[in-house]
């Protein structure tokens, strides 16, 4: 029987890699390595990474609410210093199983048969998973960057459905879940550069307590105002929390890093 052995949240801020202001960042890059070690020790065989498209992969002709690529993977296609566009170990059969379970459970997930992933998936896949390809990745793209946004409760319920899919898998697998996203950040708006540590703490507190209610009761307007349009990515954290209900968390690193524009939080969520 398959089971979830751990959950993580982490950012994918491109500026952390471009590092235009040449700021100290080893401790942040180190947080990815710390998670990679934890994933290795957990014996994980599969990873599901929840991320956003930033209007790079999907154009105005097809904007999905949820999308799972079911083919081979590589990325990030938007290459970053230290994070090249290279193959990502995939498992089309597992991806198709999740799509089938989603459809059967009333989630109308779109699919991609051929997709190079962007930094939202590529950064965690390349930095937080073992480099030997032993952990096969399934990405889940959620509409967190382009409206209409996935509803918060729906993001949480999607995670619950994924947890159910894993519990019902007839084979032995150990799965880690990754919510990929910055906390507060403004992208392409006049506020860009602002980081709201108060919002970031509120989000991290929910992850630590394992109680998603305060996040689920926010409106999108509140998130936009306090966490920016980038803050809409908390949907990815909610998906992980939905799959690990009542799982308490631990913050591994947090910084309102002045080398970039994003509240950077790394945390672990343990199964209850």
């Amino acid at each position: 029987m398959a089971e979830i052995v751990g959950g993580f949240i982490m950012p994918h801020d491109p500026l952390l890699f471009v590092n235009p202001k040449k700021k100290e960042r080893d401790h942040l890059i180190g947080a990815y390595s710390e998670i990679r070690d934890k994933v290795s020790k957990s014996g994980a065989t599969k990873a599901i990474i929840f991320g956003a498209d930033h209007y790079i992969l999907f154009g105005p002709r097809c904007l999905p609410q949820f999308l799972i690529p079911t083919g081979e993977l590589h990325g990030p296609i938007d290459r970053l210093p230290g994070v090249g566009d290279s193959p990502i170990a995939s498992d089309p059969g597992f991806a198709e199983y999740l799509v089938g379970h989603a459809h059967q459970s009333g989630f109308d997930v779109s699919v991609a048969r051929d997709l190079g992933v962007d930094h939202a998936i590529g950064v965690p896949a390349q930095l937080a998973l073992p480099a030997d390809g032993s952990v096969k990745t399934v990405p889940v793209y959620m509409a967190s960057g382009v409206a209409p946004y996935v509803r918060l409760q729906r993001a949480y319920d999607f995670g619950r459905m994924i947890g159910d899919a894993i519990a019902k898998m007839p084979v032995d697998e150990s799965v880690v879940l990754i919510g990929s996203g910055g906390i507060s950040h403004w992208v392409g708006t006049g506020e860009m550069g602002r980081i709201n540590s108060e919002f970031d703490r509120k989000v991290l507190d929910c992850i630590v307590s394992g109680d998603a209610t305060p996040l689920l009761s926010m409106t999108d307007e509140e998130i936009m105002r306090e966490g920016g349009n980038g803050g809409m990515e908390i949907r990815h954290f909610l998906a992980v929390m939905g799959a690990l209900p009542a799982g308490r968390g631990e913050v591994l690193a947090y910084e309102a890093w002045d080398g970039g524009v994003t509240g950077l939080g790394f945390a672990e969520i343990l199964p209850a």
Binding site: H54, Y55, I56, P60, V146, G188, T189
Partner: protein, 94 residues
């Protein structure tokens, strides 16, 4: 409104090398391939970041378009022009 056509143009310029080159070479001719209203065409051709933002173009896409055309070093210029998200939220909630 033909809002979607503006986003399609921006998407093409941001993500496709050929489209980027074509827009840089002759923006007016490039824009003619998209069903833009007169207002939209004017905003696109004049790179009117403020107007396009207020019109509702996705800010990530707008920034991507701007820096595709003007280069990454143009970011400060872009940010000095683009309105805040908060100003838009206030418009909506009024």
């Amino acid at each position: 409104m033909s809002f979607g056509a503006v986003e399609q143009l921006f998407y093409d310029v941001s993500t496709k090398r050929n489209s980027r080159a074509a827009f840089r070479e002759d923006a007016t001719a490039f824009a003619e391939k998209y069903a833009l209203s007169e207002l939209e065409r004017d905003m696109v051709l004049s790179m009117n970041a403020e107007g396009l933002f207020e019109y509702g173009i996705n800010p990530m896409l707008l920034m991507g378009f701007w820096t595709s055309v003007n280069g990454p070093q143009s970011m400060p210029d872009y940010l000095s022009r683009v309105p805040t998200l908060t100003s838009q939220l206030e418009t909506v909630s009024e």
